[in-house]
């Protein structure tokens, strides 16, 4: 269906002009016709009066003759004297006396020559009717072509006593009678036969021989005749004698002139009107239509975004149009400004959308927007990755169809959208659930959601954000584990430290007792038992300290055999007693360079895992051997190995085994097959990390129902490890020693030891006191023995201050629990020695002697 066609204003105005023009012309035309008709009618009326005058003249002239004829006809033959006849012949050309047969009985002639002779009959001629119709005493006349001379003649017939009297009047005389009048008044008179033939006329030059016999037209004044190069109107003149046989021609020259003048006037008016219409139309077009068209063009420019508008006053004439142009320009400028603002707004919006899009793409969280019904509107890349589904496939689908949610216990949450997201909740509150992807991977996520509102505050959808906290949770768990381990380490360290102090006291006292010469063998044995027990306690605390020690990898030569032995020792105390722990060492010299605590932790983790796999007991064995890896083997290994000798540590259990599908993932952090809360999944990951950090390798072999074997390969070292003193020689000496320890028992026992060695001992219970004493005694202190962990000021701080005050002051650290990095740092800054508590006398004497030797 095509659009409705509208006409233009110009067309409308044009049509209006044409219609008004036509109407005006029509009205004028009819008015002109009416006026000319009226003029003609009035003219005809006037002329009809003139015609009547002709009739009256004729009647007047012939009436007398008619009376005379009547008298003649009434007279007898004797009375018809020649004189009377002569008088009659003035008017009449012939008078006939007719018998009943209309034959001529007697002829009275004006001229001698006549074609009517005695015996001539009018029977059979057109006069027969005339003659027969006459009545006694009454005349009937007829204008016919005379039978005597072919000339027009008026016949008057009268009946007298059964006979007829027929008189003929020659029209030439009558013509002469009216000619002057006719010529003078310029109104030709036509004497007509009954058939319209012009028998006689006052104006023969007109060459009119007949008239239109539509007498009605003549009587209505509508019989127009062209004759003699003039136009006439034929009017019938009534005459009693001639009847309707007289036509008077009225000249229409004047009327024609008037008519022509009116026509010319009409034509001029038409031309003027046309000209005025054209001028008006052109003016209208120039002053109104073209400006309007210009507005239309300007509107189209504005529509296309072109705001270069003409000067508002240019070419405009009317204030309305100027005002319109002005307002239009203002409007255009407003539109332009708004459009620019809109463009800027759109640009900003576009930028914001781009920013939002980039943000959504860049954001680390999954952002899903839905409509009010839960159908997905947007699905950012993180959501795609999380759900393992592209945005195109997700958009438009119901949320629950795309996103699978389980609670933290693993139970699926049905209608998650309605239950979890489409709620009247505050924006900030978030919660954690699991999201199961299309590939069935599970992600721990925190969810936050917010309703989207329109300007009216109505909800139009939801924004749901998922934050994948899986890694965060793992890290948190790792942190928690680490912190737990740290706490345990701290606890262990603290306990060990205090325990060491106590042991130091016990051992020191026992040492001192042993110095007594008066001891019985039994007493000495008892003292030796005390010392032995104390040494075992020291080993145990040392292991605990090793377990709790944290910090960066310390690369020192360590004996794997010793580490394994320590590990077995710990495990035997902690795991199920129904598990038998075995060990075998192929070579007694199995040294590696690394961090003994980390290696011990790794072995402990393997042992603990093995114990978990044997809930009803079993066998756990640690086997150490040596193996050589060549370059080819190292190349094939997934670990970064250097060709050479390796220490192979086998940890084997007889547990339930690891299913093959889990074997590949056991070293993944947080991967666990245990129930949630029962395992962090970090143990084996830590083992893996430790092995890697030691440039080693690890692999596992397991059979379900049989057991599991872990092989750890560590690069072998040729180092001998930390040297144990070759003897228990007690070295005496001289000097002033400042002993600093917060434990009183240590101070007492150590003082007694030193004094027994020949030294002078000053005591301080904390670092601050020691510094104070040094300040007081500065030149007189040969050696300062500092405990590390002390209240008020610890050993590290005291060492720093002492070295600041007296850079050459000799300091030895005595401690049962310390950070190895602290010790290394202090060594770099001039520490003279270190002795681990609890110490024996000979250990103390050797360390003091060594330290005093240093300058």
């Amino acid at each position: 269906m095509t659009a409705k066609q509208h006409s233009t204003f110009q067309e409308y105005v044009f049509r209006l002009e044409v219609v008004s023009f036509v109407l005006t012309i029509g009205i004028l035309f009819f008015a002109t016709r009416f006026i000319t008709g009226e003029i003609q009618a009035n003219y005809v009326k006037i002329r009809q009066n003139d015609a009547r005058k002709i009739g009256i003249i004729l009647d007047g002239h012939l009436g007398k003759a008619n009376e005379e004829l009547t008298v003649f006809g009434s007279s007898s033959e004797e009375e018809r004297s020649s004189r009377i006849v002569r008088e009659l012949m003035v008017t009449f050309a012939d008078i006939y006396l007719l018998d009943k047969n209309l034959s001529v009985e007697h002829v009275y002639k004006k001229s001698m020559h006549s074609r009517i002779f005695k015996g001539f009959t009018f029977a059979g001629s057109e006069l027969e009717k005339l003659i027969s119709g006459s009545e006694d005493g009454k005349s009937i006349s007829s204008l016919v072509r005379g039978m005597e001379n072919d000339r027009p003649s008026l016949y008057l017939a009268q009946k007298h006593n059964g006979n007829w009297l027929l008189g003929r009047v020659d029209m030439s005389s009558i013509n002469q009678l009216v000619s002057q009048t006719a010529i003078f008044s310029d109104t030709p008179v036509l004497f007509l036969a009954h058939d319209g033939f012009v028998l006689a006329t006052t104006h023969p030059e007109l060459q009119l021989y007949s008239l239109d016999l539509n007498r009605e037209k003549i009587e209505q004044g509508k019989s127009y005749i062209e004759a003699g190069n003039r136009r006439w109107l034929a009017i019938m003149a009534r005459s009693d004698i001639f009847g309707k046989n007289i036509a008077v021609l009225v000249p229409l020259d004047l009327m024609n002139k008037t008519h022509n003048s009116l026509i010319i006037l009409f034509a001029l008016f038409v031309m003027i009107l046309l000209t005025v219409s054209i001028i008006k139309h052109r003016s209208l077009r120039a002053k109104i239509l073209q400006p309007l068209n210009s507005f239309t063009r300007q509107l189209s420019w504005v529509e296309k975004g072109d705001y270069q508008l003409p000067d508002e006053k240019s070419d405009l004439v009317f204030s309305e149009l100027i005002s319109l142009q002005s307002h239009f320009n203002t409007m255009a400028q407003s539109i332009k400004a708004r459009e620019e603002s809109l463009v800027n707004g759109r640009e900003e919006l576009r930028n914001e959308k781009e920013l939002l899009s980039v943000t959504l793409r860049s954001i680390g969280d999954a952002v899903i927007t839905t409509d009010i019904s839960g159908n997905i509107l947007t699905f950012n890349p993180v959501a795609e990755k999380l759900v393992c589904l592209d945005a195109a496939s997700a958009t438009g689908k119901p949320f629950d169809q795309i996103v699978s949610i389980t609670d933290l216990s693993g139970q699926p949450v049905n209608n998650a959208f309605l239950q979890l997201f489409a709620q009247e909740i505050t924006i900030e509150k978030s919660f954690e659930v699991f999201l199961v992807s299309r590939l069935k991977t599970r992600h721990r996520i925190t969810c936050s959601r917010s309703p989207m509102l329109n300007n009216e505050g109505e909800k139009i959808g939801f924004v749901i954000a998922f934050k994948d906290v899986t890694r965060e949770h793992e890290l948190h768990q790792q942190l928690m584990h680490t912190q737990k381990m740290d706490a345990i380490g701290q606890l262990a360290g603290g306990v060990a430290h205090d325990f060491n102090n106590m042991l130091g006291g016990i051992m020191g006292a026992a040492e001192l007792l042993k110095l007594d010469k008066n001891l019985s063998p039994q007493q000495e044995k008892t003292v030796n038992l005390i010392i032995q027990a104390s040494l075992r306690a020291v080993e145990l605390t040392s292991k605990l300290l090793t377990f709790g020690r944290k910090g960066k990898l310390v690369s020192t030569p360590i004996s794997i055999i010793k580490v394994i032995q320590d590990t077995i020792d710990l495990l035997s105390r902690t795991i199920d007693k129904r598990i038998t722990i075995l060990s075998s060492f192929e070579d007694n010299h199995c040294m590696v360079v690394g961090d003994d605590s980390q290696i011990q932790n790794a072995l402990l983790n393997l042992g603990i895992n093995a114990s978990h796999a044997m809930p009803t007991g079993g066998t756990l064995s640690f086997n150490v051997s040596k193996i050589f890896f060549d370059a080819e083997t190292c190349k094939l290994s997934p670990f970064s190995l250097n060709p050479g000798q390796f220490i192979a540590i086998e940890v084997k259990d007889s547990g339930c085994g690891i299913p093959p599908e889990n074997l590949a993932r056991i070293f993944e952090p947080f991967y666990t097959t245990r129930d949630p809360g029962k395992g962090t999944g970090l143990g084996l990951a830590a083992v893996y990390g430790t092995v890697r950090d030691h440039h080693g390798a690890i692999n596992v072999y397991s059979e379900v129902g049989i057991g599991t074997i872990f092989h750890i390969y560590l690069p072998a070292s040729d180092s001998e490890g930390t040297a144990v003193p070759a003897n228990e020689e007690i070295i005496t000496g001289k000097g002033r020693i400042l002993l600093t320890d917060d434990e009183e028992i240590i101070r007492i026992t150590a003082q007694m030891m030193l004094e027994s060695l020949g030294y002078e001992v000053l005591l301080a219970e904390n670092g601050a006191k020691a510094v104070e004493i040094i300040k007081q005694q500065k030149e007189r202190i040969d050696l300062v023995i500092l405990d590390m962990i002390m209240p008020v000021m610890n050993g590290k701080e005291a060492f720093r201050l002492i070295r600041e005050l007296y850079p050459d002051c000799r300091v030895v650290i005595s401690s049962g629990f310390h950070k190895s990095e602290d010790l290394e740092e202090m060594k770099k800054t001039g520490l003279a020695g270190y002795i681990r508590k609890p110490f024996r006398k000979y250990e103390l004497s050797q360390v003091v002697s060594e330290a005093l030797k240093k300058g």
Binding site: Q10, A123, M147, V198, L199
Partner: protein, 372 residues
Amino acid sequence: MMFNNYRRGRIWWVIALILIISVISVLVRFESRPAINVAIVTKLESGTVVGSSEINTALFFLENHPDCLINIVKLNDNWDATTSREVVSRSINNGIQFFILSTPSSAAVASLDLFTGRNDSQALNINTSATTNAMSGLDDNSFRIVPDVSIEQQNIASYIQTLPGQNILVIQDSGNQSYTDPAFETFSQEMQKFPDKVIKTVKTKVADFDLTVLEPAFSEKYDILYILAGSYQQVIGNIAQFSLQHKPNAPIIVTPWARTPSVLQTAGPAAEKIILPSQFPSRFEDEKIRNFLERFKKRFNYEPYSMSLGVYQALEILRKAFQSGHKTPETVKKFLEETKTFETSLGKVDFDKFGDQVAPLYFITSFRREFE
């Protein structure tokens, strides 16, 4: 779109202007019909018997053929030879190339050289009334609808010969000797073939109706009266009635140029005795003639004269020539000579190689019935 509106507006204005100009042209009676002038030369005078009949016949023709290219020019020669020549000459000079001469022989002869003495392409005429032999057998630009006087009189003589009676009184009109002299000559020559008929001739101007001449003529013995007069003179009827008074039984033969109802007005009872020779048959014997006469009378309220029928035929012939693309006297003449025979609505017209018609006469015996 605006340009189209603008153009449409212009077109409207152009149309309006054209309409106005057309209206004005009509108002000022502007005509541009490329008509061909055909002059009808006859006696145009109020009250005359003839003249108006030919003009009205021409008008009647144009009304019956509105698509005709012919424009009628009326020329009055008063049936006078001198006037006729002047009028024709002037008209030829004014560019009129085609004439229908409805004039007596005297006038026709007077103008003859205007059609033969000049360049042949100047003018052409068709004569409807002149029977003079002076026009016969000439290769000129003149064609005749009517047979010449020789053929006419031969026919009349042959007819009279069949009538009973021996003595023939011939009243020869001396008022038109150019016609009656050669007519009588031919008649008398023809009558010599019939020695049993005796001819007595009285030469008089019939228009005068001189009883001093007629009385003694009609007093003598005769069996057949032959009024040798033309010009449609009404007096023929008077003469006939006068003859009836003297010789009630004698048939009265008139010429074809008495075929006019005005004769009936004056013939009275003598009409029963009148025998009318005519180039056209009685209306009661020819439907076409009857139809034409009735339509003419209905239109103009009077009967046309026989010459008028010839005028109508002449116009039909010219129309045919013009429609065939012949618009000069030379080409029309050639067309007429080559075509020779024309079937007109009023009968056949046969031209011989000289443009004369050879056709028999019809003898109408019921004069009154013919014109009542």
